[in-house]
């Protein structure tokens, strides 16, 4: 017997006689209207910075966040119009980890945002890039459109493709490991800006 067969045989023996099938009740909320103010409230509560601007103002918003001369890394299909002339952008053509870590920031789009929980989700699409891109720089600017915002977690899961590498981000990196108080800033980006477009 292989270990695999042994384990499966043990589990089958443990379940004999077969338990009655269980149907999970799903009476929790799914349908709910999207409340953008709630998204902003939740994100602010996590000490993320939220900017609500129209799309043509994205570059100016980025310019106000980053000092002139800053270097950012960006995914290959980030809209060029989002980048101000004041920063140097390195598009990710397989940049090495050291180069990404040395950047002053990263700018990405997102796939979905959840108002109830203040979460943005990246799925590795070409305007969001590899996971490492949004991980190593200390500052992350994430641009999201209103049409990408859903009300709750069930709505978010139904929009996502499971096979993509997914990163759910709810505020800047934080820890509760010291006396159970949330402290911002451990290994991920310590500063998170959300630019919310109409």
């Amino acid at each position: 017997m292989t270990t695999r067969e042994i384990i499966l045989a043990r589990l089958r023996a443990a379940l004999a006689p077969a338990p009655a099938p269980v149907e999970a009740p799903r009476e929790y909320r799914r349908d709910a209207p999207v409340d953008l103010d709630r998204l902003v409230d939740r994100l602010t509560d996590y000490r993320a910075h939220v900017h609500r601007v129209a799309e043509p103002a994205v570059a100016d918003t980025v310019a106000a966040i980053l000092p002139a001369g800053a270097t950012v890394v960006v995914p290959p299909a980030l809209p060029p119009a989002w980048l101000p002339a004041t920063v140097t952008a390195r598009s990710d053509d397989d940049l090495d980890h050291t180069t990404i870590a040395a950047a002053d920031g990263v700018i990405t789009a997102a796939a979905v945002a959840i108002a109830d929980t203040g979460t943005v989700i990246l799925d590795g699409s070409p305007d969001q890039g590899r996971r490492v891109l949004s991980l190593l720089p200390d500052l992350h600017i994430c641009v999201i459109r209103t049409a990408q915002v859903v009300a709750n977690v069930p709505q978010a899961l139904s929009r996502l493709t499971p096979h993509r590498p997914l990163t759910w981000i709810s505020g800047p990196s934080a820890t509760s490991d010291i006396e159970l108080n949330r402290v911002e800033g451990v290994h991920g980006p310590r500063t998170l800006h959300l630019i919310l477009l109409p």
Partner: protein, 476 residues
């Protein structure tokens, strides 16, 4: 062992891992109870988390519906465990991962050691995982000349402090900021000698210390919070970003998971991702959750190994009442509301799984004889059941296990009484007053009055604190 027995449900082996304490609960608890600093740290931390969690649970109008769904999904998963694991294996393999099966801790450790050796690295980065503590993976790696680096802040505190974890979620919950500063100053290479005990400064020190290690280590070991059979997707829920580092930067990723972590469908995550953060850290959502399916070409580890571990779980599954302990999503809510845990801390439970869930899970994984006192480490007050996001009926399980525990009659009754008293301030206060009185009158020993005397007849009662439990309870 004959072939017939190989396929029968089996408990976790002795001599490896951390499911059995060096001494029974009462002896360990006695020492913990006399540590005033420990009790202060625990009291402060659990009170903080109870308040936070209570507030974010209260704002969810369908919390009870979510709990009901979570409980039923887990029951369904356990009822179909063999087929779901086969499905998971197929999906992970289809997506470019390699699945390994480990019957016990020794097999899992050997698999991981071999996989790390194959990478040529003498170091692995680790993201906090209960299961790798359960199997004693770090010891196995060290014995093979491989250095495991814990990257979770609390695990790092425990590792640098040469300490043991005492809480599922916050393994260093027994340490306050001043103690953490001292540990860092003593044991963290290259630390700034001017380090203060500001939590943000301590966190920044860990960031600096680990950054180069993250960037230069080619292999990581993780656990998993959930594994979706339908899609082959693994999920890790975390806060600091050390999980993302481990799951993203290395060339090779090895994930070790207990077989009970599998859930049937993608959609099931919508239930658990609502329950877990609110019940555990008291947040609407934890800062980071990573999900991956096999290997993503050009993004993250290009080699992925999933180790599926039994190590006593089949024995738990074999008990119709006991198997609900496998529903646990390791949120630690039951620890934070438990009056016994709050007083004794996690070390007293011996196993890596402390608190109410540990009191029912550890004895089942090892066989009740090896953790016979744990089912008595509770007052049966029911707070754990109310707090549990997947509605595990821990009091029912405790009673069920007490029936099986070959425990000295006098001691078991007395332990249950002592635990009961910890939850009933008036009784405990009376017992403590009696104890103080007995000390004042100079009588020998520091025993408790009946019925608690059975517990203390052959051992000293913890030094009564200057402040009685009841005064302290009232002043929290």
């Amino acid at each position: 062992m004959s072939r017939t027995f190989l396929g029968m449900p089996t408990t976790a082996p002795k001599g490896v891992g951390h499911l059995r304490g060096a001494e029974p609960f009462p002896a360990a608890a006695r020492r913990a109870l006399s540590d005033a600093q420990l009790r202060r740290n625990l009291g402060h931390a659990t009170a903080t988390i109870r308040a936070k969690s209570g507030a974010v649970v209260a704002e969810v109008p369908d919390w009870e519906q979510l709990r009901a769904a979570g409980s039923a999904i887990k029951a369904d998963a356990m009822a179909r465990l063999p087929e779901l694991l086969e499905q998971l294996e197929q999906r992970v393999t289809d997506a470019g991962g390699v699945v390994h099966w480990a019957a016990d801790a020794n097999e899992a450790n050997a698999i991981v050691v071999d996989l790390v050796r194959a990478t040529g690295s003498d170091r692995v980065i680790k993201v906090k995982s209960m299961v790798t503590q359960e199997i004693g993976l770090n010891e196995a790696l060290e014995a093979a000349g491989i250095a495991p680096v814990e990257t979770d802040l609390a695990e790092l505190i425990v590792q640098l402090g040469e300490d043991r974890p005492s809480h599922i979620l916050v393994p260093a919950i027994h340490r306050n900021r001043a103690e953490i500063r001292e540990i860092f100053l003593r044991a963290m290479p290259g630390v700034d000698p001017g380090l203060t005990d500001e939590p943000a400064v301590l966190a920044a020190a860990a960031r600096r210390f680990l950054r180069q290690t993250f960037l230069s280590t080619p292999v990581a070991v993780s656990g998993a919070n959930f594994a979706v059979a339908e899609t082959g997707t693994l999920a890790v829920v975390e806060s600091e970003g050390n999980g993302r580092m481990c799951l993203t930067l290395p060339r090779t990723l090895i994930t070790v998971m207990g077989v009970e972590k599998v859930v049937p469908t993608w959609r099931d995550l919508e239930v658990f991702l609502q329950l877990l953060p609110r019940a555990s850290t008291g947040e609407r959502m934890n800062p980071y959750t990573s999900m991956w399916t096999g290997v993503s070409p050009g993004d993250g580890p290009q080699e992925f190994h999933l180790v599926l571990l039994d190590n006593g779980r089949s024995a738990v599954l074999a008990d119709e009442v006991g198997r609900q302990a496998l529903h646990c999503i390791r949120c630690s809510a039951c620890l934070n509301v438990c009056p016994v845990y709050e007083r004794t801390g996690g070390h007293a439970y011996g196993s890596v799984y402390p608190g109410p869930i540990g009191a029912v899970l550890s004895p089942q994984l090892t066989g009740v004889a090896d953790n016979a006192s744990l089912p008595y480490a509770s007052s049966l007050c029911g707070a754990c059941y109310d707090a549990c996001p997947v509605k595990i009926n821990i009091p029912e399980l405790l009673v069920h296990l007490r029936d099986q525990a070959p425990h000295p009659r006098g001691e078991s009754a007395a332990m249950a009484a002592a635990a009961y008293a910890m939850d009933h301030p008036a009784l405990y206060a009376a017992a403590q007053r009696a104890t103080r009185l007995s000390r004042l009158t100079g009588r020998r020993g520091r025993g408790l009055p009946p019925p608690l005397s059975g517990w203390t007849a052959d051992r000293d009662l913890p030094e009564p604190p200057a402040q009685t439990f009841r005064q302290w309870w009232a002043s929290r």
